[in-house]
Structure formats: structure tokens, C-alpha cells
């Protein structure tokens, strides 16, 4: 492990911002700390940077304990949420600042900054001040400024939060590519799961100061290990009476279940394939979601969500349809279990 946190604790006026936090990131990886606001993800990032001191626990970078090393000497680049660009310096001055502090040679600084400006694609804007730049450009300058002193670890606090939705998508893939190109180990904080899934190699899910799960995006999606992770990732709805759904049985110790739209398939009554595993429901609402339709279907009082391809014949509101639920995540107090629809097998050996 290149970066490792061991049993970190941090309290603010009795509020636990970090509760026995432990996880590690491999060298060269791009990790995303994902969680709702107030879950402690920013505190973890700030402790890594040295902007906050943990009450207890160890922070290791490259095998060395850095708790007592001041922030400036941890070899970290930090990109602030609102960039914190120096408003009275030019783009060049901002990027060069860290190198000037290290008393690097003038010619070296010139070359390094030029190289970085090329990397972020802002050639020709060296003399601009931050207020003359767009949000996306500011973000790139902040990124280059953090990279200039060649940090061993790059930390980014909500890097896309202050950027309009349109530019955000481009910037995400740009950031991912550029970090891969530079090869620096990076950790970013976000509350947006799409962003985490799209950008990160590895996701760390935080909730009320605790780490819920660490893994690749696919891993977390397929095998959520805690009720929180199961509910937080994907567009989930929580069902309490899951024993009433066809093909599923109530299980002791699991009071609720999580149902994702992709676990649910609705077809016209005449196209029903698994009569035992399916049940009938009424289409309540149909929304157009750009690339698909989203359906709300009432199954005897329980409303579930499903997607439908635009290629298929659209349902009408009020129409009766056959609904098949493939699987559910059962939620216990602190465990999650995957439950498949038991009746599909008895309907014959079809595979989807």
C-alpha cells in the first residue's frame, strides 16, 4: 500500500468526523472518497494533507508515518474545492509559486511551468488573472499548480463541485486521462456517485465518519457489503415487505431489501415468460429520461421502478403489465445478502 490510514479518529465538539478509519491506496491509483455531505470524507482528506490533526491513529505515505510531518513537507499536492487560486497572481505566477518557494532555478521554473500549461491546454493564457478565466480553466490551473512541485500524492477536494454540468463531463474524463498520464497517486472527494464511478479506479464509501466499503466501482456495485453501500450506490428503492414479492421469502434478521431498476423487468401481459416468478402490476407513471423510459409500477401497493428501452413498444399509464424481479439485496443490521428470485428455476432453465 502506498497510502495507508490506520485507525484514524477525529472529533469536532463531540461530533465524530472520523471513527476508526482504516484503508489503503495502491501506488499510481486514482481513488474516490464517496459519501453524503457530513460523512467525514473531507476531514479524511484534510488529515491526509496535514490541514487537520487526527486525535489518534496513523497516516502512512510510502511506508513512513507522516503524522508529525508538517503539511508542507509531506510531498502532497492539494486542489481546493474553490481552487483557492492566488487572485493577485497570473496563471504563470500561480503555477510557479510552489517552485519559487523551493528556490528552484529560474530557467527550470520557466520550463516546468510551460510544460504544465501545455499539459492543461491553456497556452497563451499565462498572463491572465484568475478572474479572467472560466470555471473549467480555473480548475485546470489549480490542478497544474498542485502538480508543479512534482508531488508524490495528489489530493482533490470536490474537484468538480463548482463547475457547470456541461463542462463537468468533459473535465472528468480529462482529469482521469491526465492523472493516468502523469502517473501520480491521487485521492479525490465527491458526493456524486456518477463522478466516483466514472473517474476512480477505487472507491472508498464513507458514512457518519466510518468507512463502509472499499473496492472497484464494479465490485461495490455488484457486491455491496453494508446496507449503506447497497442503498447509496445506484438508484435504489428500499422495500420493507419484500416477502410479498413473487419469488422471494422473508428471511430472519433481514427486515428490508434494496431493489434497483435494473433488477426489475416489465413486459406486456402476452409476452410473460416466467409465470410463477412474475406478478401483475399497474403502470402508474412513465417518465422520459433522455435515453430510456423510467416506469413506476404498482405491485399491490408496493411501487417499484424499472427502465424500458425506447426501442420497445411504450406502456400506457394504467396499463396492466407482468413484472419480473430477478434479485434483491437483503439488508440486515450490518450485513447484506444477495437473494435471487427462487421461482425462475422452477419456470425452466432460461438465462438472461
Amino acid at each position: 500500500m502506498y497510502v495507508e490510514l490506520r485507525n484514524l479518529n477525529k472529533q469536532f465538539n463531540g461530533f465524530k468526523a472520523a471513527d476508526n478509519v482504516s484503508f489503503g491506496i495502491e501506488r499510481g491509483h486514482l481513488a474516490g472518497l464517496l459519501g453524503p455531505s457530513g460523512s467525514g470524507k473531507t476531514t479524511i482528506l484534510r488529515m491526509l494533507a496535514g490541514l487537520e490533526t487526527p486525535d489518534s491513529g496513523d497516516i502512512l505515505i510510502d511506508g513512513k508515518r507522516v503524522n508529525d510531518i508538517p503539511a508542507a513537507r509531506r510531498g502532497i499536492g492539494f486542489v481546493f474545492q474553490d481552487y483557492a487560486l492566488f487572485r493577485y497572481m497570473t496563471v504563470f505566477g500561480n503555477i510557479a509559486f510552489g517552485l519559487t518557494v523551493q528556490k528552484k532555478e529560474k530557467r527550470f521554473i520557466q520550463a516546468r511551468v510551460t510544460e504544465l500549461i501545455k499539459l492543461i491546454g491553456l497556452e497563451g493564457l499565462e498572463r491572465r488573472r484568475p478572474h479572467q478565466l472560466s470555471g473549467g480553466q480555473k480548475q485546470r490551473v489549480a490542478f497544474a499548480r498542485a502538480l508543479a512541485p512534482n508531488p508524490q500524492l495528489l489530493l482533490l477536494d470536490e474537484p468538480f463541485a463548482a463547475i457547470d454540468a456541461k463542462v463537468r463531463k468533459d473535465l472528468r474524463s480529462w482529469l482521469r486521462e491526465t492523472i493516468n498520464k502523469v502517473g501520480v497517486t491521487s485521492i479525490f472527494v465527491t458526493h456524486d456517485q456518477d463522478e466516483a464511478v466514472e473517474v476512480a479506479d477505487e472507491i472508498v464509501i464513507t458514512n457518519s465518519g466510518r468507512i463502509e466499503q472499499v473496492g472497484t466501482p464494479t465490485d461495490i456495485y455488484k457486491n455491496p457489503q453494508t446496507p449503506f453501500a447497497a442503498g447509496f450506490i445506484g438508484e435504489s428503492i428500499v422495500v420493507s415487505d419484500y416477502g410479498r414479492l413473487h419469488g422471494f421469502q422473508a428471511t430472519d434478521g433481514f427486515d428490508q431489501a434494496v431493489l434497483r431498476p435494473e433488477f426489475v423487468r416489465a413486459v406486456k401481459l402476452e409476452k410473460e415468460v416466467f409465470p410463477h416468478a412474475s406478478q401483475h402490476g399497474t403502470v402508474q407513471e412513465v417518465y422520459f429520461r433522455g435515453n430510456a423510459l423510467e416506469l413506476r409500477i404498482n405491485l399491490g401497493g408496493q411501487v417499484v421502478t424499472s427502465h424500458q428501452s425506447l426501442e420497445e413498444e411504450a406502456f400506457k399509464v394504467g396499463e396492466e403489465v407482468s413484472v419480473l424481479i430477478y434479485r434483491l439485496y437483503l439488508l440486515g443490521r450490518d450485513s447484506v445478502r444477495l437473494m435471487e428470485n427462487a421461482s425462475i428455476k422452477s419456470d425452466g432453465s432460461f438465462f438472461i
Binding site: A72, R73, F78, F80, A84, F86, Y88, V101, R145, P149
Partner: protein, 269 residues
Amino acid sequence: MRTKVTKVILIILGGLFIASMLIMPLTTVLVYALRQGLTVFTSAITDDYAIKALQLTLLTCCITLLINTFFGVFAAWTITKFRFRGRQVLTTLIDIPFSISPVIAGLVFILVFGRIGWAYPLVESLDINVVFAVPGIILATTFVTFPFVSRELIPVMQAQGREEEEAAALMGARGLRIFRKVTFPHIKWGLLYGVILCSARALGEFGAVSVVSGHLRGKTNTLPLHVEILFNEFKVTAAFAVASVLVVIAVIVLILRNIVEYRLKREKG
């Protein structure tokens, strides 16, 4: 229509107030200063004692400014760039001189350095006169104007936040470089504004200086004290002539203040 009438009435009322309270006193000074002709006016303001008083006033103002600017920058930096317990208490303590009568400001230095003061043996052994001497005047003026610079800087620095400084510190910059390169460009107009207000008050301070000065002509007389002496000796024209010098300074201060305030607003906007 009725709105228009209200508007005109209110403007006239406000104008009358300003005319009788502010404009006419100002005019009085200038008219009385010149009513016996230019020669009397010039001789009053070029009088030896007047020149000495002006010199002392300027000296006091400069030293006070140095002390208060130094203090103001450090106090504002401490209060806005760090989070610590008792920040509100510290801010309130700094504001104390605002609410203390100038007479008391002078009195406390007599209680420290005067013949009954606890520091009297110390200053005497060093052969320094504080009370009824120039150091006392400077101390009393410093006390009265102590919060002026920090009070202007604190809101400006608060509005700027501390992220830029944090970013610079994370890259290893030391305090002085952070202040010079990152903080100072943000606060330069605010600082100038505070310096102007501080110098206006320091030039004109009367009560506190009056207590500690001892009114020694040519030695411990500042311009405002000189005005008082002339006025009490019924040399009214001379008093107003010297006062008019202070009025000119005050008007210059007002104009500078306006320019700086305009720049300050533009920076913020």
C-alpha cells in the same frame, strides 16, 4: 406627485441639518481666520510656536501610525487567519479605546508614568520624562487610535477567507512570503483606508493629549492644543487661522478617504 413632495421635503430637512451642523461651522473657521486680512492670517500660522506645534503634531502622527499599523496588521492576521478560543474576546479587548473617554486615556498614562505611577522609578532612573513630555503625548495618541487600523483590516481579511494562505502554506511558503505575495495585495486599500482614518484622529486628538501634555509652549504643544491656548487668550483670529490649517488637512483626509473607499468597493465588487 406626493412622493415627489416627500422627497423634496426630506432632502431639504437633511440639507438644513448638514448646513447648520457641518457646513456652517466649517465656514465659520475659514471666515474668522481671514477676517483681519491675509497678513494676520499668515503671521498666525507662521508663528514660531505654531510651527513647533505643527512639527510635534506631525511627529506624533507618524510614530502613532507606525505603531498602530504594525499592531493592526498582526492583530487582524491573528484574528482572521487562525481559529482559536477567545477570538471574540480578543476583538472586544482591541475595541476598548473606542469607548473610553480621551480624558481617561490621558489619565491612565499619568497613573503609570506620573510621579504617583508604579513605573515612575523606572523611567526616572532612565532619565526619561514621559508625562508632560513628548513620549506621553505619543502614548496617549497611540492609545486613542489603537484599534483604527485593525478595525478596517479585519472585515477585509475575513471576506478574503484563508484558503489562499492555506494553499500557499501547503506548498511550503513561510509567513512573510505568504503575507507579502498572497495577503497584502488583498488588503492594501483597506490598510490605506485605516491609515488615513488613524492619521486624521491622531492629528486632531485633543482630550488625551491635553491631559498628558502640560501645555508647555514650544515643547509639548500640538496644533489642537495651540488652538485652545490662542482661543482662551482671546486671540480668536489667530486661533481660527491655525484651526484652518487643521480644516484643510481634514478636507484632504476626506477626499483621500473617498478615493480609497471607491477603490475598496471596486476591489470587492
